[in-house]
């Protein structure tokens, strides 16, 4: 295997990103594109790729950090002649990115669409899926155009369709554009949406891995998770683990927004500290403003403050200080913005995007908005704090149908 040549890459995901004009098929091949898919299809059996992904330590970048290899291993595998085999399994790329403060997948979708297509070939091959969808949020029009172009090119060059590159493996890949609803990013709601139903989440278990789209085994993975695959296959497990200083492997696309000097996105070793992202990359606060606090990974994660700034941004470390890594996009609060107004804005979002299926969330989120709005206008009453704390309890994990409501509180 050709390993050594690529081993110096430290920003695998974004190295070929070009937002002006993404690499087309030919240009992508010139920089080594589709080599990893070729390695997967010609050098490995599906279960060997699975073993590599498991051992790489890759965890889901959609926010929950579930180990990708383990998730894939729940998908039932069948011998070709097996009569019990379902007629289809599915792979879905979750590109519904709608978590406020999160904009990392957009970079990969608009800037390197072929990378995702190649990654999906590898993932589909591994789990034995012959049909795959990219579930894209409706507002990402430019991404839709570029992804469709990449898909069309991949079909033209026999990287999609029947018997890819003369192999036994066939894959049809389709782009599905949604129409703007946050809950569609939750994997079971997404599956209902793709089936043409109202996108309420389903109860888990059964997990999609065994019963997903049309009741068939289905893997839903985040865009950034998938985009790691070609690089892991090309460069190996040791390289991937060597990218990160701590226990979590690989890189992560971190972001920052709010009134910092240089808001943006950076691909960095998984586990750099909050301080490094905030001060070295985002440049610290704008002139005249002081740092007050931040949400480390999107609207659904918990506030952290100055004393937490030396925490490494990996799944375990951020969880230890009482928040979640989530999507790795910092939302930074300064001292001239009101924290209550900020929380009110977040709660309004969750109230609006609640799918309405279960009572604690459907009624609890607007109630919390009402109370917060009163406090924000300076008319808070002492019992409001009680009410809020009760509402948080009603909407906590296990009391609602999906993770939207716990995310909201």
């Amino acid at each position: 295997m050709t390993v050594a040549k690529f081993n110096t890459v430290i920003t695998p995901l974004t190295q070929w990103v070009n937002l002006q004009q993404p690499l087309d098929f030919t240009a992508y091949c010139q920089v080594g594109g589709y080599q990893a898919a070729k390695i997967a299809l010609t050098e490995y059996q599906a279960h060997e790729v699975l073993e590599i992904v498991k051992n790489s330590g890759l965890k889901g970048r959609g926010g929950a950090g579930f180990p990708t290899g383990m998730k894939w291993s729940f998908v039932p595998m069948y011998a070709p002649e097996d009569k019990n085999a379902p007629d289809n399994k599915y792979l879905i790329a979750n590109a519904d990115e709608m978590e406020p403060g999160t904009f990392k997948d957009r970079l990969l979708l608009e800037g390197a669409p072929h990378q995702l297509v190649e990654a999906m070939i590898i993932a589909a091959y591994t789990i034995g899926a012959n049909k795959a969808y990219i579930f894209l949020r409706g507002e990402y029009h430019l991404a839709a155009k570029r992804l469709q172009q990449a898909i069309d090119e991949a079909y033209q060059h026999q990287w999609l369709g029947d018997n890819i590159q003369g192999s036994q493996f066939s894959l049809n890949l389709y782009l599905h554009c949604s129409a703007g609803r946050y809950i569609c990013g939750e994997e079971t709601a997404l599956i209902n949406a793709l089936e043409g139903k109202r996108a309420n989440p389903r109860a888990k278990p059964p997990f999609p891995q065994v019963s997903g789209l049309f009741g068939k085994p289905t893997i839903v993975n985040n865009v950034e998770t998938l985009c790691n695959l070609p690089h892991i296959l090309k460069n190996g497990i040791d390289w991937f683990q060597g990218l990160a200083p701590n226990s979590d492997a690989g890189t992560k696309i971190y972001g920052a927004c709010g009134r910092v000097k240089k808001p943006g996105l950076w691909e960095l070793p998984m586990g750099v500290t909050l301080r490094e992202v905030l001060y070295q990359h985002a440049g610290g606060m704008q002139a005249g403003l002081a740092f007050r606090g931040l949400l480390p990974g999107g609207a659904s994660t918990d506030f952290l403050v100055a004393e937490h700034l030396d925490t490494p941004m990996d799944y375990d470390s951020i969880a230890k200080v009482g928040s979640r890594l989530g999507t790795g996009g910092l939302i930074v609060l300064d001292d001239k913005n009101c924290p209550v107004a900020m929380v009110l804005n977040l709660m309004r979002f969750f109230a609006q995007e609640s799918c309405g299926y279960c009572t604690p969330c459907r009624d609890g989120t607007p109630w919390a908005v009402e109370v917060l709005a009163r406090i924000e206008q300076g008319q808070g009453r002492i019992q409001d704090l009680d009410t809020l704390s009760k509402l948080c309890d009603f909407m906590w994990i296990g009391k609602t149908h999906c993770a939207l409501a716990p995310g909201a509180v």
Binding site: E139, Y174, C177, S178, A179, G180, A193, G196, A199, P263
Partner: protein
């Protein structure tokens, strides 16, 4: 019910059948069908709903459930340009409220309303995914970023002068 053949155009039917061909079931193409018809007619009327449910052989209640679920399916007539101003957290921290006030004043409409000349409809939108370039808005399929009250109004003035519709698909 409404017979789809008399209501929908050949182009609409062809586009919807293409979507059906890549899904496993006819009703799975429901959301795509709504988008196709909206691209041709601007919004989804009750008659459009009935025609689509006839074409896809799906219950009208299921299709209505889908249609009303999504922010980008319009169940009421909208103007030539639909303005979606992002009101989520990054845009809030960067002061989108001033941009919104300027737009409302310039067009003399509030959220959910359409200008008298039928050019603009104003709606909100959750995070547009360009939080590092907040405040942001989407008009039709175009995204505008790093807005100020003046630059947002300038965009709208330009569009009003231009007059040709963007295709919202």
């Amino acid at each position: 019910t409404i017979d789809y053949q008399t209501y929908l155009s050949a182009a609409e039917i062809a586009a919807i059948e293409h979507e059906v061909s890549i899904m496993e079931t006819r009703d799975a193409a429901g959301i795509e069908a709504l988008k196709v018809v909206q691209a041709h007619r601007g919004w989804i009327s009750d008659d459009s709903l009935f025609a689509i449910s006839d074409l896809l052989a799906m219950p009208i209640a299921q299709l209505e459930g889908v249609a009303t679920f999504y922010n980008l399916i319009y169940r009421q007539p909208v103007g030539q340009y639909v303005i979606h101003v992002c009101d989520s957290i990054a845009c809030h921290l960067m002061g989108y409220e001033a941009v919104l006030i300027a737009i409302k004043q310039h067009l003399a409409i509030d959220y959910g309303q359409t200008t008298a000349d039928g050019k603009f409809t104003l709606l909100s939108n959750a995070c547009l995914g360009c939080c590092d370039k907040a405040p942001a808005m989407m008009v039709g399929t175009e995204h505008y970023q790093n807005l100020t009250p003046a630059s947002a109004v300038a965009v709208l003035a330009q569009l009003a002068a231009k007059g040709e519709a963007d295709d919202c698909s």
